[in-house]
Subunit: 520 residues, 2 copies
């Protein structure tokens, strides 16, 4: 066995395969700097060999665990948070992997690289590390990454033309898939596999899909566990195996700046794990992920307590919460963190009630969520046999619904709005208005078809008085119609302002209308 040292330069998530290089190196900020070493192949390296590197630079010291990639190859992936000179030194239980040293220059991020996602200072929104706001329009294709290369390519083509900027995706299969064996098989039965030996090919394939999403600017919401796998039992392992699996995923994928961690999908439907198990796995993940990627967990019935310190944002399944901006906003009050309704039932033709939304109903949920200061996720279930397993939701492929263009339109409205995002405005007083107090107001009428809106906006005597322009937004037909003239606000009562000369706005009497009031 040779014990070599290879150090890697990768432009980050944009590189499908890390480019290896010897000697002097440069890696861009928030890219992936990969170290590659040859090491022990005997025994079970996944269990027997620990390897990590301590990186020092920009006044920081960051210890990054590595992983075994099979065939005697060990990798350590680091995403430098700051420019400048970084040095590193390896640690390992294997002497031939320990004490290696090197360094590299971290250069400025290239165009389009905004860095990893963070929760904004106000506590309720997301922005890239460079400050660029992130207006989440998510979708879900549970097992798209585990399909054939051809099917994956089709999904990627669909995503290129779609508005989605976050993808929820399972690591292990829930529906029919080409890739089904994350662990080395030991026999022919579905449960004949060795939880202590990962199959690097499986993880490399998944990683390729992660990287392709990064190339499209789509965040990868990686779901580590789910309950849809009673046959194979990947989600029913023992604690030590779960820990090893979580650490392996974190070491392999944590350096990709667009990775988010979803600890579980419908976690509370996994009967072999208790709340203590979930809390423990989060603690393992926090310890295993020096890149500190976003972390959440998604439920079916029992809300996880998203105030727990390891949770960065609330990931919620609830189809009713986003039919009312105030219900949605209350989830912020509970979590005191950003809220994404990752599952609000789906557009489609499923024979189940959770997959029968019209496109109008799907879009409506995004708008109410927005007014409530939260974010919403899409998916669709269209299938000739009404079996969602074979739909976009299950496998990816092509979109058959009609909500996506409207979600693109919504995203544009969001981008034109305040940064970092829309907040509910005095939602405990039933205004049903989102925006930014005194500056930007977004009123949405949902399925109602009013012919007029009485313009009364929250504002007290001590608040600044501004003038506003107004737009009538048809959220379904994707039109923005300016209202002529200016609204000059004056005090109406102790709590509200209005323009006495223009107390109301005429509306078209159709559903799916919003009004936007922007300070001039």
């Amino acid at each position: 066995m040779t014990t070599g040292l290879k150090t890697g330069l990768a432009a980050g998530a944009a590189a499908a395969t890390p480019v290896l290089a010897q000697g002097a190196q440069r890696t861009e900020r928030w890219g992936v700097h990969e170290l590659v070493f040859d090491g022990p192949q005997t025994g079970n390296p996944f269990v027997d060999v620990a390897v990590a590197a301590v990186f020092k630079g920009a006044g920081k010291t960051i210890r990054v665990p590595g992983f075994y990639d099979g065939k005697g190859v060990y990798r350590i992936r680091f995403s430098p948070p700051d420019t400048g000179r970084w040095t590193w030194e390896t640690e390992s239980s294997a002497s031939e992997l320990a004490g290696k040293r090197g360094g590299f220059e971290c250069v400025a991020a290239s165009a389009g690289n905004h860095g990893p996602m963070r929760v904004t200072q106000d506590g309720y929104h997301f922005a890239y590390a460079d400050g660029t706001p992130f207006r989440q329009i998510g979708t879900t294709c549970y097992a798209w990454a585990l399909q054939s290369d051809a099917k994956c390519a089709q999904t990627i083509e669909t995503l290129k033309a779609a508005p989605f900027n976050k993808m929820r995706m399972l690591v292990t299969p829930n529906v029919d898939a080409v890739a089904t064996n994350p662990f080395v098989r030991t026999g022919k039965g579905p449960r004949d596999w060795d939880p202590t030996r990962f199959d690097p090919d499986y993880f490399r394939r998944y990683e390729d899909r992660i990287i392709r999403l990064g190339q499209l600017g789509i965040e990868a919401d990686v779901i580590l566990f789910h309950p849809y796998d009673e046959k194979r039992g990947y989600n029913d392992m023992k604690r030590a195996d779960d820990e090893r699996y979580v650490r392996y995923c974190a070491a392999r994928w944590g350096a990709y700046r667009h990775v988010w961690w979803s600890m579980g999908n419908e976690y509370d439907a996994i009967k072999t794990k208790s709340m203590d198990d979930w809390d423990h796995l989060f603690e393992v993940l926090v310890g295993a992920d020096p890149h500190d990627r976003l972390r959440s967990i998604h439920q079916i019935n029992v809300y996880y307590d998203h105030r727990k310190p390891w949770i960065t944002h609330a990931s919620i399944q609830n189809g009713a919460a986003v039919l009312d901006d105030i219900r949605a906003a209350m989830h912020r009050d509970f979590a005191l963190k950003p809220v994404i309704f990752d599952e609000v039932v789906y557009e489609g033709n499923s024979d189940k009630r959770w997959g029968q939304l019209t496109a109008e109903q799907m879009v409506e949920r995004f708008w109410w969520g927005l007014i409530g200061g939260t974010y919403v996720g899409h998916s669709e279930t269209y299938d000739p046999n009404r079996n969602a397993d074979y739909s976009w939701l299950g496998q990816g492929g092509v979109l058959k619904g009609t909500s996506a263009p409207r979600l693109a339109f919504l995203k544009k409205i969001m981008e034109e709005g305040p940064a970092p995002g829309i907040d509910p405005i005095q939602h405990w007083w039933n205004y049903h208005i989102g925006g930014k107090p005194h500056e930007y107001f977004l009123k949405y009428f949902g399925a109602a078809s009013p012919s007029e809106w009485k313009v009364q906006l929250p504002g007290r005597k001590s608040d600044p008085k501004h003038s506003f322009r107004a737009d009538i937004i048809d959220t379904w037909n994707m039109t923005v119609t300016p209202v002529d003239g200016v609204f000059t606000m004056q005090q109406l009562n102790e709590y509200d302002v209005h323009d006495p000369a223009r107390p109301s706005i005429a509306l078209p009497g159709k559903p799916w209308i919003a009004v936007r009031m922007v300070k001039i």
Copy 2:
């Protein structure tokens, strides 16, 4: 100084003043067994002397802290949880109070004594210790206990004729009051008082009010801290003083079976305490209250995390949450505990928007809360000068609003309903129905005035099919009108049942209507 031993027999909360007796004693189950001792008067007994008794009986050992009641008198109050022989032995830092021994016979509870309040096994409702369901119809008179005896007597008279079975009440004053000095005064300024020396008269007066509520069968929701006291600063003490105060209240009042603890009113408006302080004070309270009375805390803006282990139920302020049963029910999903909306803005004529509800709007909030499986609190602000300080909310006295009879009617509907209470039924699917699945359904229409209700009830093929009788309930006019005939349920689709012969119920086209469907 004489060091004597007196043991007390009290029939429990029903006794305004504990009856002292020597020698053989009997105390009823869940009553108050009071031990009275003479002890040290020198120095500052509130700080210098610790006293407690260890009670043994029914296989249990319970250590009960005592308190100094002034003039050399020490009291230890114990509420025996089980009948049979109990023995006790005192512990004290003062030798003359230590090592006293005695015993008493705990006899069966008398009629009307249902024991202390507990959360029911299902996790979302309340019942007395004997299993009697508690249908919470709360009210708030913040400083009623601190008013003159005459005014207090007036409040008691009002309560005798009112439906309320829980009273929220501050320990320290927020508005004009007769009793304003819980601590011994040291000068003439509002902040001239000694936090280490309680005024026993003040606490004895408050205790008298607690006992009077008990005589009426009204739970006393004792609010330990509040933010309406910047002048005197009782809520801005140092940690050690807060701890002593909490322990004193717990020792004095914890044995009364109808006491609940509300750690704070609008806790997050008290700027001198952090979240850590609140958590700490709860830990102090848990340690100081061997009777384990219900514990919660009430917010203005920032929801406390009611999943914390010391919280027994969520106490919520939110006027919008109870305008929609699903918003209300989501608070159960957040807390995983019973939810009481203790403040939903008030009926009255206040010039503030938080005190301007019509009686209809007040009653509406109770009904939506009920359908959502939660409980609601009342108060009113009527005052000739529109100043709520001098209203029922501030000082008690008489009720001027018209919601109370409707809340009595509501309470009767609750009592006729399932035990331990109404649960939301599939609220994440927007049925807007509460009750008990397959057996009892309560549909409420609020301010809407439908002329018909299409009767589709949640029920799958595998669920039992029943026949139902129906009532149309006018929640404002307090009438129950039976619908002729029987509804025999059959499967309508995968999720719902209906009676194809009687697919709908005609309604009167008025607001504030509910329909009750009860299994025959």
